[in-house]
Chain length 424, copies 2
């Protein structure tokens, strides 16, 4: 039952570490407990080092194999540098610890990262972070003032910690990579959908943008936004099962053809049920497959109503309908904007949840026109966007009902972009 | 620059832990250094506990939210149980440590997992493993004989370790979930491709199965197989960009139409380049987009040859061609098997790498017929598969060239399945 240490191949833990050092390592380990994204993780890790080691300033740099740059997250933003642009990069390139005591000014490479803010730099330490196989994946950079040298004890703690943290960081980076892979795969499939169906060209993309705009307005959590975004990208994946002959004709579909197109929602569910979604985004299936349900229960395919429909699907219903009504078709021009908003008003409480329409009508017009004209952004004046962003859909409707010299600028500016013609 | 411990919100490390305990925790941490799959991880973790704590037998159980079962990996296989089927499950349900000293036989629930092999159970300990937010995700189960009680020191170490390991395991489980999500998404898209194009119905699936059969034969590494499998599933994703009018006609395509179909390889590359593949599967793009390159440089779109073509793409070329030649078409019956093998022989050294064809011709006929008849497995006699698996494609060709009473059974049995008719 027992196996020898050799068989398990655990790395030898330095038995010379004392209780204080071991406790420091354990505390540092807890800084990586909370599974977050890599940026949050390096930030948390740097702060734990500042506190537990302690040191005056710490940065944790990770190497990005795509760009070959070292990056860190500090002062609430990402910073990327080539290895030879920062002093810590030397430890990365040479794959060994760099420890400088009272380095002269000319030894420092970077104007901010290699220097201590408002304190004279006395001690600079860069410790490579490596995976179990020895590959260096990043650097811990610690700086102290002239009066706080790094002890031999601290160096030992950092060597031990570098190995533990390396394994952990590598895993967090891989998780992020796979999440990105899934998200970009979804975007790619969405783009294929948008290209294949030239009549509704760009539909999935615009619905996704409307959904993100609304979820900002409604203050959804990052987790809710992530799920909604994926569901929006994939809500029409079932259309891959509809023959092009029906999908791409230039006249309005007849009732039979509508019936076939309606089936796409069921196919969307079937298709997405084949995907083994991670716990945290499982709701994508229901949201995507229920975007034709209506708030009052008169939708399809299930006839669910109110809270039985996930919030994301209730939001998608609004975005999907608005895009269908407002996009250019080969067989019809855009309907007037006010007419569409009136149609949506009429469906409020029926197809749509009033609370969502309330937020929808508070969307800023500049952002709205940018989504309506997605793909033609080059031809939108940024000053016009800023001007229009001072107003909402509600303001437009008010101005439309009671036009006067003040508000005519708003409707005219919006309508200019809304009504200009493009070949499909 | 400094922040208080409260601000960082690190969990309080029990300062009462002594140097021996801390060292044990650190050693246990290293057992999770190597990033592997969850099954390997729980196995490694259990062995580290047996060695470092030490105890006579340990299992690490994890909770699967999909099935609601507790599972572990032991004796080289997975075991799943409801929480009430094993004693450790009690600790999971009650979310607290279960420590039994000299439990009577009737307290033990499971015939094997709750018992010590060849030693009388004296001490049973089940320690919940939890994430930073307190959610219990699994159980560490430790058992000792009557002569080795668990000390208070061991209990302290396990509490501390449960928290550290919990964060780590949660991350490993999430990684696995996202990898599965990506794999099942690829399978789903592949299935859509196979359904959409009824003329080559099931093509991507069969090519994937041939590729896996060949990679077993060629002894590729698990990592190589994983990449090849994804590339095989997605190698025709570019066909989503080909109009159905051309894709689905019932006659042979003309030269112009072939030209359009040939473009699918370029579209495959464009599409897959939009996906941000993780480091470990980056080669999927090249393999999928180069399956029409030929070994002698006469293929398309790049005209690469030999080693300039990734091994996976050289394998896919063989599988893709074999499936194209051997599948039923609306406009043609299956060509005789020997004829197809002769065609492939003729292209060996030209389209195909000889080394791969060597392995291809060593494929067992039973597995081959199962792939050829994929979708009709119900109508294949398992005895016939076993019989045919004693022979390879080489044997078939030999028997075909020089038929005698001994080898006629082999060709006839194979041809029966190969030539039977199905409506497309």
């Amino acid at each position: 039952m027992k196996t020898s240490n050799e068989a398990l191949m655990l790395p030898k833990t330095d038995i010379a570490l004392n209780v204080h050092q071991l406790r420091q390592i354990l505390q540092l380990s807890h800084a990586l407990d909370e599974v977050g994204n890599p940026a949050q993780t390096v930030h948390r890790m740097a702060r734990a080092l500042e506190e537990i080691i302690p040191c005056m300033k710490c940065y944790v740099w990770l190497h990005d194999p795509d760009t070959q740059l070292l990056w860190t997250y500090a002062d609430e933003r990402l910073h990327s540098h080539k290895a030879d642009e920062i002093l810590a990069g030397r430890a990365f390139l040479e794959k060994q610890r760099l420890h400088l005591s009272h380095p002269p000014e000319e030894a420092l490479i970077h104007p901010t990262f290699d220097r201590l803010h408002a304190a004279e730099l006395g001690h600079f330490l860069a410790q490579p972070i490596h995976k179990a196989d020895g590959t260096v994946i990043g650097i811990m950079q610690l700086m102290n003032s002239r009066v706080h040298p790094f002890s031999a004890s601290v160096l030992d703690v950092l060597s031990e910690w570098a190995l533990l943290a390396g394994a952990r960081l590598h895993n967090i980076l891989r998780l992020k990579q796979w999440q990105q892979a899934f998200a970009t795969f979804s975007e790619t499939i969405s783009r294929i959908l948008d290209t294949r169906d030239y009549i509704t060209s760009g539909h999935s993309r615009r619905v996704t943008l409307y959904a993100m705009e609304l979820s900002r307005q409604m203050n959804l959590s990052p987790a809710q936004k992530k799920v909604l975004r994926l569901a929006a990208l994939l809500h029409d994946i079932g259309k891959l099962g509809i023959p092009e002959l029906i999908l791409l004709q230039k006249r309005r579909p007849n009732e039979d053809e509508y019936e076939i197109m309606r089936r796409h929602v069921n196919i969307t569910r079937q298709v997405l049920q084949g995907v083994h979604f991670p716990e945290e985004i499982k709701e994508v299936v229901d949201i995507a497959a229920m975007h034709h349900e209506k708030f009052d229960g008169s939708g399809y395919p299930l006839g669910k109503k109110g809270d039985q429909i996930p919030l994301g699907a209730r939001i998608l219903a609004v975005c999907d309908t608005f895009d269908a009504l407002s996009s250019r078709r080969p067989y019809a021009e855009r309907q007037p904007f006010a007419h569409i908003v009136n149609l949506m008003d009429k469906e409020t409480g029926a197809a749509f949840e009033p609370f969502i329409i309330y937020h929808f009508k508070n969307l800023p017009l500049g952002n709205l026109i940018r989504i309506l004209e997605h793909g033609h952004e080059d031809h939108i004046n940024i000053g016009d966007v800023r001007f229009l962003n001072q107003f909402t859909i509600n303001d437009y409707m008010q101005a439309h009902r009671e036009p006067d010299d003040n508000n005519r600028a708003l409707t005219e500016r919006f309508d200019y972009y809304y009504s200009r013609g493009y070949r499909v």
